[in-house]
C-alpha cells in the first residue's frame, strides 16, 4: 500500500515539474488555487466569485469590534482617567 502511495506521489511530482517546465512564464497565478492542504495552501471546496461574495461576516466582526472599542474608550476615559486622582490643570 505504502509503495503505491509513494509511486503516486512520485508521478504527481513529475507531472507538476513537467507542467512547470512547459508553462511559459513565472509564478502561475491561476484560479481557483490548487488548495492541496500543504503549508500555506489550504484545501478549497468551491469557487466564490466576486459577484457572489458579500462579506457579511466581516461586517459583523467590524461592528462588534466597533462596539467593544467605543465602550472600552468611554470606560477608560470617563471611568479610569477622569477618576485617576489630581490632574494637570494649568
Amino acid at each position: 500500500m505504502r509503495d503505491i502511495v509513494k509511486l503516486s506521489l512520485l508521478f504527481i511530482k513529475i507531472f507538476f515539474v513537467m507542467a512547470e517546465e512547459n508553462s511559459d512564464h513565472s509564478t502561475p497565478e491561476e484560479y481557483p488555487p490548487k488548495g492541496d492542504g500543504t503549508i500555506g495552501n489550504p484545501k478549497v471546496d468551491q469557487k466564490v466569485s466576486v459577484d457572489d461574495y458579500k462579506p457579511k461576516g466581516t461586517l459583523t466582526l467590524a461592528l462588534i469590534y466597533f462596539l467593544i472599542v467605543v465602550l472600552m474608550w468611554i470606560f477608560m476615559y470617563f471611568g479610569e482617567f477622569a477618576n485617576h486622582g489630581p490632574s494637570i490643570m494649568n
Binding site: T27, E30, D36, I39, G40, N41, D45, G57
Partner: protein, 558 residues
C-alpha cells in the same frame, strides 16, 4: 519552479538577510526573558540591576531595529524580485548594502554587549532610544548610522529595479508587492532623515568629544520625528503579508487591490507628522503642536480600520470557499491547522487589541495617565511584538522552503508555535497594561519602592508580576520552537522541486478597478513632505535658533 531555482541570486540575498534577522531574534528574545524574570523579582541570579539596562538596550536594538530591518529587507528582496520578475540589477551593489548593514549591526551590538563585561569602558546602556545627555561609545552611533545608510541603499536598489521594469512595461500598473515596498521605503526615507541628522550631525561629533555640550530636547525631538514612522516601517511589511499573501493562506483572494494601495498612501502621508504624540509629556513643545499631532494620529486609525475590513473580508472569502456559512460560523472553516495562516490570523487579532491601547496612547490627555508606565510596553508587545513579529515568523514557514528548496520540517511544532506565542503574549501584555494603570514604570530594573505601594485596579500586583514572568517564559519557548523548526528545515528539510505552493491568486477586485492616480508616486511624496514641514518646521526652528547644541549640558556616560 521554485523561487530558489528561478531567482538564485535574489534567493541568496534574501536568505542572508533572514539569517541575520533570526540570530538577532534569538539573542534579543532571550534577553527579554532575563528582563521579565529580573524586574518581577522572580529570578535575579543572571544579571545585576545595573546590567539590566545593557540587556534592555540589547533587547530593544536587536529586536526592534535589527530583527525587523533585516527581515524586512529579505522580505522586500523576495517580493520585488518575484513581482517584477527580475533578479537584482547589480549584485555587487546589493551585497554592498547588505554587508554595510551587517558591519553597522556588529559595531552597535559590540558596544552594547561589551557593557556586560565588568569594568569595561565601552558601554552603550542608553536604550534603543539613546536620549542624550546619556552617552554611549561612539561606535554605537556609528554602527547605527551605517545601518540606516545601508537601508537607504537598499531602497534605491528596489527603485532602480522598478524603473528598469517600468521602461519595459510603460502602461502596466505597479505590481502590488512592489507598490507596497516602494511606498514603505519612501516613508522610511522621509522619517529616517530625522534620526540620521540626529546621529550623524549631533551625536557622533558629540560622542567623539568634538562638541562637549548638547541640548537634550532637540535630539529627542528628532528621534521621535523618526520614531513613529519607524513603527509603521515595521507594521507595513506585516500589512504587506496580510494583503498580498494571507488571502492565499486562507484559501481565498484579496478583497480589494485598490484599498491596499490607498492604505499605503495614507501611511506615506501621515506617518511622520504625528511624532509629537510621543512627546505629550515633554516641556518645551507647545500644546498647539501636540494637538495637531493628536488629530493626525487619530486619522491614522483610518488606514488600519480599512485594513481590518479588507484583510478580514479576504480571509472570509477563503472560509466561504471552504464551505463556511452564516455570520460568524464561517470563522471555524478557516484553516486553523495551517501554520502560516494561524500565525498571521492570531497576529491580526492581537493587533486589534493593540490598536485600542494605541488609541489611548494617541489621545493627548489620557496618555499622561499611562506615560512611561508599563502600559506602553504592554501596547507595543501587542503591535510590533506580535502583529509584526508573529506575522514574520508565520510567513517564514512559507518563504524559507521556497528560498531553500526544502520542505518544512516539524510541522506540528510549527503549528503549536503561534498558539503558544498568542497565549504567552495575552498573559504578559494584559498584566503589563494593568500594571501601567497602577503606575508601575517601564524601563526600570527594580520597580519596588519604599514608602508607598502600587494599587492595581483589577487583580493584584503580585498576580500581575507572575503573569508577566509566565507569559514571557511561554513566549521564549515559542520563540525557540520557531528557531528549531526553521533551523531544521533549512539544514535537513527534505529537498523538493516544489516544497510549497508559491502561487498567489488574483485579487477579487483587481488592478483594473484601481484608479491610475494611486500609482502617481510623485504626487503622494510631495503631499507627505508638505505635511511634515507643516508639523515640524516651527518647533524644530524654535529649538535650533538658539544654537544646534545649546542650551547645552555635558555628557553623562551610560
Amino acid at each position: 519552479m521554485t523561487f530558489l531555482k528561478k531567482y538564485p541570486r535574489a534567493a541568496k540575498v534574501a536568505k542572508a538577510n533572514f539569517i541575520v534577522a533570526f540570530i538577532a531574534l534569538t539573542i534579543g528574545g532571550t534577553f527579554g526573558l532575563i528582563q521579565a524574570l529580573h524586574r518581577t523579582d522572580i529570578f535575579r541570579g543572571i544579571i545585576n540591576s545595573g546590567q539590566y539596562y545593557t540587556i534592555l538596550t540589547g533587547h530593544g536594538v536587536l529586536l526592534a531595529l535589527i530583527f525587523t530591518t533585516f527581515f524586512i529587507m529579505g522580505l522586500f528582496v523576495w517580493g520585488v524580485t518575484r513581482s517584477l520578475e527580475r533578479e537584482p540589477e547589480n549584485l555587487t551593489y546589493t551585497w554592498t548594502w547588505f554587508w554595510l548593514m551587517v558591519v553597522g549591526l556588529v559595531l552597535a551590538a559590540f558596544t552594547i554587549l561589551a557593557g556586560l563585561v565588568p569594568g569595561s569602558s565601552i558601554r552603550a546602556a542608553v536604550l534603543y532610544t539613546f536620549y542624550p545627555p546619556l552617552q554611549a561609545h561612539p561606535l554605537f552611533y556609528i554602527g547605527l548610522a551605517l545601518v540606516i545608510v545601508a537601508s537607504w541603499m537598499a531602497g534605491a536598489d528596489w527603485f532602480r529595479s522598478y524603473l528598469k521594469w517600468r521602461k519595459e512595461h510603460p502602461t502596466e500598473r505597479i505590481p502590488l508587492l512592489t507598490y507596497m515596498t516602494l511606498f514603505t521605503m519612501l516613508m522610511w526615507y522621509i522619517c529616517s532623515f530625522g534620526v540620521a541628522f540626529e546621529v550623524v550631525v549631533m551625536l557622533i561629533p558629540w560622542s567623539l568629544g568634538w562638541v562637549t555640550n548638547i541640548d537634550p530636547l532637540l535630539p529627542r525631538t528628532l528621534f521621535w520625528y523618526f520614531g513613529h514612522a519607524l513603527v509603521y516601517f515595521w507594521l507595513l511589511p506585516a500589512y504587506y503579508v496580510w494583503y498580498a499573501i494571507l488571502p492565499k493562506f486562507s484559501g481565498g483572494r484579496l478583497f480589494s487591490d485598490s484599498m491596499a494601495r490607498v492604505v499605503f498612501i495614507i501611511f506615506l502621508i501621515l506617518s511622520t507628522p504625528v511624532g509629537f504624540h510621543h512627546q505629550y509629556a515633554d516641556p518645551g513643545i507647545s500644546v498647539g503642536f501636540k494637538f495637531y499631532a493628536m488629530a493626525a494620529t487619530l486619522l491614522l486609525l483610518l488606514p488600519s480600520l480599512i485594513t481590518f475590513f479588507t484583510v478580514i473580508a479576504s480571509m472570509e472569502h477563503g472560509a466561504r470557499q471552504r464551505g463556511g456559512k452564516g455570520y460568524l460560523a464561517w470563522l471555524g472553516k478557516l484553516p486553523w491547522d495551517n501554520p502560516p495562516f494561524v500565525g498571521c490570523a492570531l497576529a491580526g487579532i492581537m493587533f486589534a487589541a493593540g490598536g485600542f491601547s494605541g488609541i489611548i496612547n494617541a489621545s493627548m490627555n489620557i496618555n499622561i495617565m499611562i506615560h512611561n508606565t508599563l502600559w506602553v510596553p504592554g501596547h507595543f508587545h501587542l503591535t510590533v511584538g506580535t502583529a509584526v513579529a508573529l506575522t514574520f515568523m508565520a510567513v517564514s514557514y512559507w518563504l524559507i522552503p521556497q528560498l531553500t528548496g526544502r520542505k518544512l520540517k516539524h510541522k506540528t511544532l510549527a503549528l503549536i508555535q503561534p498558539y503558544a506565542w498568542f497565549l504567552g503574549m495575552t498573559l504578559m501584555s494584559n498584566a503589563m497594561h494593568r500594571g501601567g494603570l497602577a503606575g508601575i514604570p517601564r524601563r526600570t530594573a527594580e520597580p519596588t519602592y519604599s514608602g508607598f505601594k502600587f494599587h492595581a485596579v483589577f487583580g493584584s500586583i503580585g498576580e500581575i508580576k507572575w503573569q508577566i514572568a509566565i507569559g514571557a517564559t511561554i513566549l521564549t519557548i515559542s520563540l525557540f520552537m520557531f528557531i528549531w523548526v526553521i533551523t531544521a528545515t533549512w539544514w535537513k528539510g527534505e529537498e523538493s522541486e516544489q516544497p510549497v505552493d508559491e502561487s498567489i491568486p488574483e485579487p477579487l477586485s483587481g488592478a483594473e478597478y484601481t484608479p491610475a492616480v494611486l500609482d502617481n508616486i510623485k504626487l503622494w511624496l510631495a503631499l507627505a513632505i508638505i505635511l511634515v514641514i507643516l508639523a515640524y518646521s516651527f518647533p524644530l526652528w524654535d529649538m535650533i535658533k538658539d544654537g544646534l547644541f545649546s542650551p547645552g549640558v555635558p555628557p553623562r556616560p551610560a
